[in-house]
């Protein structure tokens, strides 16, 4: 008999803060999770489960995301777009994140550069005028990035996708207490999940002053507007065109190891900013 946990939340961070979810991941009798909700929230939730499993060295659970349980006010899930456009679109529409090609013209930002290979050294050097947190999965900076890393406010190494998942990055951000966070990456997935992590950072700060479950859509969008995401990569060749829903399901299965996105009419969609996690 599945047990449904319903979380009235904006982003993954509050789901993961729930002891029930962490305990469920540690519980060997729970074999599978069924995750439903807004597509822009389901993706980071599933990613967060995967990152927690990796950090705690837990046996990965089978995760199912029935496609009929995914929803979105914006973007239209049936809209046909290129694969490379989906994650930026979700950042903009779900969270209000500013997806830009260049650094913003402001001086009160923290830059979180989470790089796969090193990225555009010129942009990174330019970003050095901000307090900067620099990280890569391998923990060794290529020669072009070493000077940037030495001057950075903080550095980290992390193999996951969301740089805000390791406490060291969130702590560094807390020290800076930024009004705005610019996320730079040469990897679209790291950019997407870290930008949502940055939105979460602001939501957690806000939660000190008001109950996060009372947040309205415009509150979340206003937090997202405090985040700019900049992809440090040369434009790619045209990528496959499909619906947003199809791209989301492909991403869930290929990048996040979701077992299945087949529709399952035992489960319906969830309304509002809610995430439903059924434990099986």
């Amino acid at each position: 008999m599945p047990v449904t946990e319903l979380f009235n939340v904006a982003t993954w961070n509050f789901v993961l803060g729930e002891r029930d979810v962490e305990d469920a991941l540690r519980d060997p009798t729970v074999r599978a999770l069924i995750v439903r909700g807004g597509v822009g929230t389901v993706l980071p939730t599933v990613n967060a489960v995967r990152e927690l499993e990796a950090r705690e060295e837990l046996r990965p659970k089978a995760i199912h995301v029935p496609s009929n349980g995914l929803s979105a006010a914006l973007p239209d899930l049936g809209m046909r777009v290129e694969a490379s456009a989906v994650l930026p679109r979700l950042l903009r529409d779900t969270y209000g994140v500013r997806v830009e090609d260049a650094l913003p013209q402001r001086d009160d930002a923290l830059v979180v550069a989470f790089l796969r290979d090193g990225g555009d050294a010129g942009v990174l050097r330019e970003a050095s005028r901000f307090p900067m947190v620099v990280g890569m999965p391998c923990g060794v900076a290529p020669s072009g990035l070493r000077d940037v890393a030495r001057k950075a406010f903080s550095t980290f190494r992390y193999e996951g996708r969301n740089a805000f998942f390791p406490a060291s990055v969130e702590e560094a951000a807390l020290e800076v207490a930024p009004q705005h966070i610019v996320v730079l990456s040469d990897d679209p997935e790291r950019l997407f999940y870290t930008a949502i992590g940055a939105v979460d950072f602001f939501l957690v700060q806000d939660a000190r002053l008001r109950d996060p479950s009372t947040l309205q859509l415009w509150d979340i969008l206003s937090m997202g507007a405090k985040v700019t995401a900049v992809l440090l990569a040369s434009p790619r060749a045209r990528s496959e065109v499909a619906t947003v829903l199809e791209h989301a399901c492909t991403h869930l299965q290929t990048a996040l190891g979701v077992a299945s996105c087949q529709p399952d009419y035992e489960y319906g969609p969830v309304s509002g900013h809610k995430i439903a996690i059924d434990l099986r």
């Binding site: 060794v140 070493r146 980290f156 190494r157 702590e171 807390l174 957690v204």
Partner: protein, 406 residues
């Protein structure tokens, strides 16, 4: 899945430290305070390591090795480091010589070493415009009459709102004997005396030299591309008697002492009946009756074998004796605690030149101090008072007066 189904505990063997990923040489620890001395905030901390004969090297923890600068009259010089090691006063610190030899061995032998240091509140660091956690309750009956008068006269517009520090101060701080200026002062200044002030206090030169060498090594690692460099000599801030400072409501921040203890004894092995005794920490620093004692108790709690090097520990001579406190602690924690004036060569390597003479000075000082203390102590116990004349055990009205109930 946890190995323990009860409430979560920090130091359960087999569930703490361990050897997470065989071959991994260090544990990452981040603290903003590292940056002040090491230039970086995020470092990898190796375990204590082993000597060639298989004996684990000790973790060195020297607490509050902070310099104090006194003038010719023995008064703290305003604006200068206000720690409790008075290196500028001739013959004032018998233990600085021995401590210096221990720190030199830390440097020569790359021993893992942690330096907790008080960083008490600095009045000038308060931001009067920042928000406190206090919302002014519309029920003014919860305020004292004086506070209520201030609110009604000056701050009625703030009722029901979160107070900025400047207004909080106006409402809640008054002139008192402990604080005649009604100033924002820290609990240490209010309850004891102003000392070890953040931004003013500084480590003694021997420790600063270690940090400088560590910083150069970190720079070299960063130049070679390391994003999270290795570090063995680590500063740790604290704010009171207890040596560990927990994180905030989300478990973030804190002074990372327990993370460093975890890193020190990760891998190895340092667990189980055949290895547990290899978790050893050598404790030094000041003041013996306060932070050193609480550090010892914290380490015993963490299931670590503690060696208290009395030769490198500064006591407070006004009202105590090292030997007396050693007796008290040994009674309580005898199975996990060793006191010694000696240089333990299997742990620390060859005895350094000058050690014997330096330790003799400390022992003579401590013995003389104990004799003086014991005479006063027995007299005080007979009277039932402390050195300052306060009743040791209060009853009735005097207890209530001390608690401001009467």
């Amino acid at each position: 899945m946890s190995i323990y189904r009860g409430i979560r505990k920090r130091w359960i063997e087999g569930d703490y430290a361990g050897s997470y990923r065989p071959g991994e040489d260090a544990v990452e620890v981040r603290s903003g305070f590292f940056r002040r001395y090491l230039g970086r905030d995020h470092v990898r901390v190796p375990n204590v390591g082993f000597r060639a004969d298989g004996v684990a090297r000790p973790l060195i923890i020297a607490t509050d090795v902070l310099a104090g600068i006194l003038d010719g009259n023995g008064q703290q010089v305003a604006g200068q480091s206000d720690g409790l090691y008075y290196a500028n006063v001739a013959n004032a610190e018998a233990t600085l010589g021995t401590l210096s030899l221990l720190l030199e061995r830390v440097r020569e032998d790359d021993l893992l070493a942690v330096f907790p240091g008080d960083q008490h509140e600095n009045t000038s660091y308060f931001d009067l415009n920042a928000m406190t956690t206090t919302i002014l309750d519309p029920d003014l009956g919860k305020l004292s009459p004086g506070e209520r008068r201030i609110v009604e006269q000056r701050f009625s517009a703030w009722i029901g709102k979160r107070l900025p520090l400047g207004i909080w101060k106006e409402i809640f701080l008054h002139q008192t004997p402990e604080n005649p200026g009604a100033a924002l002062i820290g609990k240490e200044a209010r309850n004891f005396v102003p000392h070890c002030t953040e931004g003013i206090v500084e480590y003694v030169p021997d420790v600063l030299r270690l940090f400088e060498a560590q910083r150069r090594d970190i720079d070299a690692q960063m130049a070679a591309g390391a994003l999270v460099p290795l570090a063995r000599w680590l500063p740790v801030p604290k704010d009171g008697l207890t040596v560990d400072m927990p994180g905030d409501a989300r478990g973030m921040g804190g002074n990372k002492l327990d993370d460093l203890l975890g890193a020190a004894f990760t891998g190895g092995y340092f667990q189980g009946d055949d290895h547990r005794h290899q978790k050893r920490a050598i404790v030094a620093g000041a003041c013996y009756e306060y932070s050193v004692r609480l550090l010892i108790e914290h380490l015993v709690d963490a299931d670590i074998q503690v060696v208290c090097m009395l030769s490198c520990v500064k006591g407070l001579d006004f009202f105590s004796s090292k030997l007396h406190t050693a007796h008290y602690l040994k009674e309580l924690y005898g199975r996990k605690l060793v006191f010694t004036y000696d240089w333990l060569e299997p742990l620390l390597g060859p005895r350094p030149a000058g050690w014997d003479a330096a330790v003799q000075r400390v022992m003579q000082h401590d013995r003389a101090q104990h004799d003086l203390f014991w005479k006063d102590y027995t007299a005080q116990m007979a009277r039932g008072t402390t050195a300052s004349g306060a009743e040791i055990v209060c009853a009735g009205q005097s207890a209530l007066q001390a608690l401001r109930v009467a």
